[in-house]
């Protein structure tokens, strides 16, 4: 009975079902690019995945059902638990983590393929061996790189760029070394050496660590997007090795769409991908220069802030990652409600990389039911800034730093910013004068029309809202 249900690996029925599966991926992705259809698109892609998994489970000769069940059960439980519990602010590290496990799976599959090749005996055909080696290298880099990215975003290790002297050279040596090892394995492929293969996995692992460690927290989203593309490509390479059309197409789709997303994000930060990868953004010298001098700031309390806001006509809120960390989106919305009740116009100015991922702030504010039409993109709000009475900067730092425009020597020179210093008055809600991801001082804090409200974003927003209510 079961025998009738099984599909021949690489046979017509299995291939046809895989084609259905990747067609659903393409449809799903296409719908994912429009806000109205995105949710449905995600479901279509998930349906495609279900087709692919069931097809694979029905392949002829499959065994080890107990282990398959264990792997599926553990993985599904962990994935479901994590995705339900994760806070929206932690989305970037969640993506990094899923990315890492995907890359890790590819590296393990490649290892298993090599062992399979050795087990069969004789020379492993190059058309299987080469993609297997590629999958191992990219998968391992992606796994370790993503883990480092996760650890940085989760504050398990410092977000500041960490670099060792001669880093670029070490990376280059490792990169070339991995390729040389792969070539040696490919030449002496009768049978391929498992020891050298494991050495490749190790070198690629070190490379993955070293490439991501020097990258500062602000650039991490771009790196995650790039590693996402890497994992996709490694899946495609595994698809070549296993001659599986679903893996090739789905992996390649993620590889190329991930590349586009990465470039779009880098453009939004006015930087090139190469610059992000190799510059070690926000180095120590700038941080030292900033902390060396003491400049006076104007500090105010919640009540003063409430008065300034309540008697304004036009208020713009500039949310940043600090708002996300403090889970302040609901408190801020409450403050905005109070202001709107008094007839104040409240808009939100969203920097393209506000939060820790492009579009991340939009997700957080959507969570707090902020109407979509009140979210203004940077290019839309900047020309209006001179007509804004009060700009409230909540948990944002580098993206408001006028040094990006005025100081050509600043590490963030040229980065597009929300030009809050053009507004009549600025209130910055921040816990201290500490620096942002870029590790540099923010000139905005010391400008004459800027008042600092030193407090936790959530507490401050609630307090200001309460004060406005009492006015």
């Amino acid at each position: 009975m079961i025998a009738e249900a099984v599909l021949k690996p690489g046979g017509d029925v299995a291939t046809a079902l895989y084609i259905v599966s990747f067609s659903l991926f393409i449809l799903g992705l296409k719908q994912g690019t429009h806000p109205t259809t995105a949710k449905r698109g995600n479901m279509i892609a998930a349906a495609g995945m279900a087709v692919a998994v069931v097809t694979t489970l029905l392949l002829d000769g499959m065994g080890n059902w107990g282990l398959i069940a264990i792997g599926l059960a553990i993985g599904s439980a962990v994935g479901a638990y994590a995705s339900i519990r994760v806070k929206m602010t932690e989305m970037p590290q969640m993506v990094a983590l899923y990315n890492g496990v995907g890359g890790g799976a590819v590296a393990l599959i490649a290892w298993s393929e090599i062992r399979h090749g050795i087990h069969i005996g004789g020379a492993m055909p190059l058309e299987d061996l080469i993609p297997t080696l590629l999958a191992a290298i990219i998968g391992s880099v992606s796994f370790w790189g993503s883990n480092i990215a996760f650890a940085k975003l989760q504050d398990l290790i410092p977000t500041r760029p960490l670099a060792v002297p001669g880093q670029q050279i070490i990376n280059a040596v490792l990169g070339i070394g991995v390729i040389v090892l792969a070539i040696i394995i490919a030449i002496n492929n009768d049978p391929p050496s498992q020891a050298l293969f494991i050495l490749i996995l190790v070198c690629a692992a070190i490379l993955g660590n070293l490439v991501v460690l020097p990258i500062g927290g602000a650039d991490m989203p771009v790196v995650i997007s790039m590693l996402n593309a890497f994992t996709g490509l490694s899946a495609a390479a595994a698809g070549f090795a296993l001659q599986n059309v679903a893996l090739i197409v789905a992996g390649t789709l993620v590889g190329s769409s991930g590349t586009i997303l990465t470039m779009e994000m880098a453009t939004a930060m006015n930087r090139s991908v190469a610059n992000i990868l190799f510059s070690g953004f926000g180095g120590a010298p700038a941080a030292v220069a900033g902390s060396g001098e003491q400049r006076p700031v104007t500090s105010i309390g919640a009540q003063d802030a409430a008065i300034k806001l309540a008697y304004a006509d036009n208020v713009v809120i500039v949310p940043g990652y600090g708002l996300a960390v403090a889970q302040a989106q609901h408190a801020v919305k409450e403050m905005a409600n109070q202001l709107e009740a008094r007839g104040v116009t409240v808009n939100y100015a969203i920097h393209p990389v506000a939060g820790r991922m492009p579009g991340h702030m939009n997700v957080l504010l959507a969570e707090a039911d902020v109407p979509y039409e009140n979210l203004k993109e940077m290019d839309e709000i900047n020309p209006e800034m001179p007509r804004v009475d009060v700009a409230v900067v909540i948990g944002a730092n580098d993206v408001t730093n006028p040094a990006a425009k005025n100081d050509p020597n600043s590490p963030i020179a040229g980065m597009p910013i929300i030009e809050v210093s053009e507004a009549n008055e600025v209130i910055v809600i921040k816990r201290s004068l500490s620096t942002g991801f870029a590790g540099i001082d923010n000139d905005l804090f010391y400008e004459p029309n800027t008042s600092m409200l030193f407090a936790d974003a959530k507490a401050a927003a609630s307090e200001v809202a309460a004060e406005i209510e009492q006015l």
Binding site: G71, A105, R115, T231, N362
Partner: protein, 117 residues
Amino acid sequence: MSLFTEFTIFVLAIFVGFEVISKVPTTLHTPLMSQTNAIHGIVMLGGLIVLGYAGDGLEYVIGTIAVAFGAINIVGGFLVTDRMLGMFAKKPKPKASPASSASRPGAVDKNDEGAGK
């Protein structure tokens, strides 16, 4: 499947990927990245295949971990994308029924605090 057939598919898929994702609004970058992230969970197929045909102890271990990793990637990736997009979908509602919008932020708050502990 010949190597050249595979390459043909690979190259065509590159162009499809580029075409599909070009000009996405910034608003959707995070959910879309999350969705492509879920799709590379397709590697679980590879894990299933190597585990399904595995023949020795180490391969059992490697295969089971690979399948578990892939399942985390797939299940977590699609669920989290769905959760995220659900927040966007909620937006038109407050206008239609003010009552639901008033109750919602409170409910979300509780969840957040639970998750934070």
